[in-house]
Subunit: 290 residues, 4 copies
C-alpha cells in the first residue's frame, strides 16, 4: 500500500519519517520544499502539487490550521483528484465546523474521511508513540487501522462521525490550558506568601498531579522560562478559540475557557506573543503585582 502525506511541519515530518522508517511507501507534498528533501533522502517520493497524492491508498494530512487545511485539501484540487476509495486521515487539530464540512465533501466523492488528531510531541511522533483519537465510519476506520497503528502507541475510538475526534482533541487541549492557568494562579497565591514556585510545584506535581501535563508545564513555571516557545501563545490562543467556537455552536458555557482566552490575549497584547503559552502563569503573577 502507498501512503500520501501532506503537511511536513515538525509533527508531520516526524510522523512521515516514522512511516518511512517502518518500511512503508510514502509520497509527500509540502508547501516549502526543505522538509520534502529530507524525507526524499530517506526514501519518500515527492509530488509536485497536492493533487499528485490523489492515487494513494491512505492520505494523511497534518496542516497548521483550518485555513491551511482548506487551501490544500479543497482549493488546490486534492479532493477532486482523489480516487474513489481513498481514505483520508486528518491528523490536524481543526475546528469541529471544518471537520463536519470536510466529512460531507469527502462523502460526496466516495472518499473515506477519518478524524484522527493526535496527542504527543514530535519526539513521540518519531517513535510511533502518539495517542491517536479516531472517529469516523467504523468500516473505514477498520481498513485504516494498520496505518493508525503505525503512527500511534494506542488509538482511541470516540465515535462514528469524524468531528467526534476533533471535539475530543479540542477539549483535551482546553484541559492542558486549564492546568497551566490553575498552576499560574496557585503559584501567584503561594508566592504572595513567600513560598517559592518550585517548592510548591514540586509537591503537587509529584503527588496528586503527577501527570505529564502538570510536570511539563509545572517545570517551566517553576523556573519562569517562557522563551523560546515550544508552543507559542498565539497557537495556544487558537486552540482555546477552537474550544470556545465549538462550545458556542451548542450553547455550552465554559467559564474557564473564557478566562484562558483573556489571559492569552492579554499575554499577546502586552508583548508576549513570542512566549510559550505557559506564560499565562506570568500574567497571573503580574496581575498580583508579583
Amino acid at each position: 500500500m502507498e501512503i500520501g502525506f501532506i503537511g511536513l511541519g515538525q509533527m508531520g515530518k516526524a510522523i512521515a519519517g516514522r512511516l518511512l522508517g517502518s518500511g512503508h511507501r510514502v509520497r509527500v507534498w509540502n508547501r516549502s520544499p526543505q522538509a520534502v528533501q529530507e524525507l526524499v533522502a530517506n526514501g519518500a517520493q515527492a509530488a509536485s502539487q497536492p493533487a499528485g497524492l490523489g492515487k494513494v491508498d491512505f492520505l494523511l494530512s497534518m496542516l497548521a490550521n483550518d485555513a491551511a487545511t482548506r487551501a490544500v485539501i479543497v482549493d488546490q484540487g486534492l479532493l477532486d483528484a482523489a480516487r474513489p476509495g481513498l481514505i483520508h486521515l486528518n491528523l490536524a487539530t481543526v475546528s469541529v465546523g471544518l471537520a463536519k464540512e470536510l466529512a460531507e465533501l469527502h462523502r460526496q466523492r466516495n472518499i473515506g474521511y477519518i478524524g484522527a488528531p493526535v496527542f504527543g510531541r514530535p519526539d513521540a511522533a518519531a517513535a510511533g508513540k502518539l495517542h491517536v483519537v479516531v472517529a469516523g465510519d467504523p468500516a473505514t476506520v477498520a481498513k485504516a487501522q494498520p496505518v493508525i497503528d503505525a503512527i500511534g502507541q494506542k488509538s482511541w475510538p470516540v465515535g462514528d462521525q469524524p468531528e467526534h475526534a476533533n471535539v475530543v482533541k479540542i477539549a483535551g487541549n482546553f484541559m492542558i490550558a486549564s492546568a497551566i492557568e490553575t498552576m499560574g494562579e496557585a503559584v501567584a497565591l503561594t508566592r504572595s506568601y513567600g513560598v517559592k514556585a518550585d517548592t510548591f510545584l514540586d509537591i503537587l506535581t509529584n503527588t496528586l498531579f503527577a501527570a505529564p501535563a502538570y510536570k511539563v508545564y509545572g517545570s517551566m513555571i517553576a523556573v519562569e522560562k517562557y522563551t523560546p516557545a515550544g508552543f507559542p501563545a498565539p497557537l495556544g490562543l487558537k486552540d482555546v478559540r477552537l474550544a470556545l467556537t465549538a462550545a458556542d455552536a451548542n450553547n455550552v458555557p465554559m467559564p474557564f475557557a473564557n478566562v484562558l482566552r483573556d489571559s492569552l490575549m492579554e499575554l499577546i497584547a502586552t508583548g508576549g506573543g513570542d512566549n510559550d503559552w505557559v506564560a499565562m502563569a506570568k500574567v497571573a503573577a503580574r496581575r498580583a503585582g508579583l
Copy 2:
C-alpha cells in the same frame, strides 16, 4: 514520648490509630465520645477535656475548620494548659489568617507550633501514607520529625512560618477543584457533540492527565455519581473560600477560583448541598441544557 491527639473525625481517627498501631503512647480528646472509645480500645489514654493534653510531648490536632480549632485550642484552655516546650502540629486545613494568629499565641507561651496539613484520604492516613506539608521554625520541625515521619510517607518542608504550609495546602485544594471544573466543562462540550463522558475521560485520565486528582474525580464524573458524598460540596466551598480569602488579603486575582466558588454556591443553592463537590460537573452540564 507521649503524643496528644485532638479531633477524631475520619482523618483524625485514622492518623491516631496509625500512631497507636506503630507503638506510640497516645492521649486523645474528642468532642463526641464514640471515636474516643474506639481508640481507647486500641490502647489510647482518654482526656476528659482538651486541657488534659497539656503535658504531652507532641500535640497533634485535626479539627474541622477555623471555628472548631479556635474553640478547642484557644477558648477551652488547652493553650493555657500547655507546658512550655510542647510542640503542637496542626494537621488541619485552616485559614492563613488563623495560622498566623495561632503562631503568635504559641510563641507568647513558648510552645512550638508547626503547620502540618496533609494530602491524602483516611485509608492513606491509616497506612501512614500521607503527604505532610510542613512549615515552622526549623529547629522545632527537626524535633518533631519522628512524629511527622510516623504519619506520612513523605514530608514536604515549605517554609519557616507555619502559615506557609497552610497556603500550600489551600492552593493544592484549589488545584483539585480546578481539575473538577475543567473536566466538567470539557465533558459538557464533548457530550454536546455526542461523545460519552467515560469515552472522553478514559483517554485523558490515562494519558496527559494520568494522575490521582483526575482519575478519582474523573471516574465519578464518568458515571455521574455524586451521592453519597465523599467530600460534600459545602466543605469544598469552604476550601475554595479559604483560597479566595488568602488571595484577597494579598490582592491576588484568581479568576478560576471565582468560577469555582460560583459553581459550588450554585450547586448548593439549587439543592445539591448533599452532593460531593465533584457535582460541579453536573452544574456545568446543566448550564448547557444537558
Copy 3:
C-alpha cells in the same frame, strides 16, 4: 432625490415610513412582500429585486445580520448594479469584519459607503427620533447628511472609516447587556435578603441610574416579565458575540462580555430561547436558588 430602502423589518419599515411621511421619494425592496405592500400603499415604489435599487441617489439598508446583508447587497447583485456615485448607508448592526469588507467592495466600484447604525426602537424610528452613529469618508457623509437628518434626531460622527460606527454600536449594545446582568445580579442579592425587586429597582432607576437602558429593562425585571420578547435572547446573544468577535480580533479582553455570553447561552440552552434577553436576570436568580 430618490432613496432606496432595503430590509423592511420592524425597524426598516418604520424608518422607510418616516421618509415617505416627510415627503421623500422612496423605492423599496424586501424579501417578504407584505411590508412592501404597506409602504407602497403609502406612496413607495417597489422594486422586484435588490438590483432594482441600483439607480437611486441614496441606498439605505437595514438587514437582520451579516448573512442577510451579504446575501442581499453582494450576492444578489445590488452592488454590481449600483451606479457610481450612489451612496449606501448601512443602518444595520453588522460585524466590524463585514463593515471593513463592504467598505472595500464599495470603494472598488466608486460607490459611497457609510456605516450608520442607529440607537432607538421602532416607535422612535417612526418619529424620526433615532440616534444615528455615523462613520465614513467625510465628504460622502456631508452629502448624505440630509438623509441622516431625516431619520434621526441627532447624528453622531465617530470616524472616517465605516466600521468605526459599527464598533460603537456593538459596544453600546454590550453596555445595555451589561446593565441587564448588573441588575440581575443586584436583584438576586437583595432578594436573597428579602427586599423585593421592584423596591430595589425603583430606587436605583430613579436616582443614580435614571437612564433609559435601566428604566426599560429594570421595569421588566421588577415584574419578571420575559415573554413575549421585545428583543429575543438569541438576538441579544448575536450582539454579544459581535462584541466578543470584534474584541478577539484586536486581543481585547472583555470579562464582562464573557459573562454575558454565558448567561445568554445558558438561558437559551435551558429553554428560554423565546425569552427577551432581559431574562438574563432570571438566570442570575435561578443560580442562587431563588
Copy 4:
C-alpha cells in the same frame, strides 16, 4: 429634640452641618478634633467621648467601615450609655452581618436602630439632597422620619429589618462599580479600533445611559483622570467585598462582582492604590495593550 452625630468625615460633616443650618440642636463627637471645632463654630455642642451622646433623642452615625463602627458604637461604651428610647440611625455603608449584629445589640437595650445608608456626595449632603435608604421597625422609622427628611430629599423605605437598607446600598454600589467596568471594557474595545474614548462616551452617556453614574465616571474615563481620587480604589474594593460577602452568606453567585474585585485588586497590586476606583478602566485598557 437633640440630635447626636458621630463620625465627621467629609460626608458626616456635611450632614451634621446641614442639620445645624436647618436649626437643629446637634451634639457631636469625632475621633479627630478638627471637624468638631468647625461644627462647634457653627453652633454644635461637643462631647468628649462617644458615651457623651447617650442622652440625645436621635443618634446619627457615619463611620468609615465595620471596624470603626464597632469600635465607636460598641467597644467605647456608647451603646451601654444610651438611654432606652433613643433611636440610632446608622448612615454608613456597613456589612449586612454587622447590621444584623447591631440590630440585636440595640434590641437588647431597648434602643431603636434604623439602617439608613445614603446615596449622594458631600455637596448633596450639605444641601440636604441625599437619597436615604431606610429600613427598620416601622414605628421607630415613623418617629425618626423628621430627622430623615432633614437630611435627604427623599427617603426610600425598603424593609423592616435594618440590614435591608444595607444590602440595598451595597447592591447599589455594586451597580456603580459595574457601570465603571462596563465603560472601561467598551472603551478598550472601541479605542482598539481607533475611536476616541470621549467620542464614544459622549454618545452613550447622553442617550441610553444619560444618568449620573455614567456621566460622572464617564467624564473621568474620557480624560483618563484617575488622581487625585474622589473615591480611592481601596474603598471601592471594600464596597465590592461587602457585596461579595453578603452574596456569599446566601450562596448568590455574582460573576460581575468577581470581575470587579479582580480588577480593583489588580489596580491596587500594580501600584494604583491612590487612584480613584474609576481607574478600573485603565486596567481594562492595559490588558489590551492600549
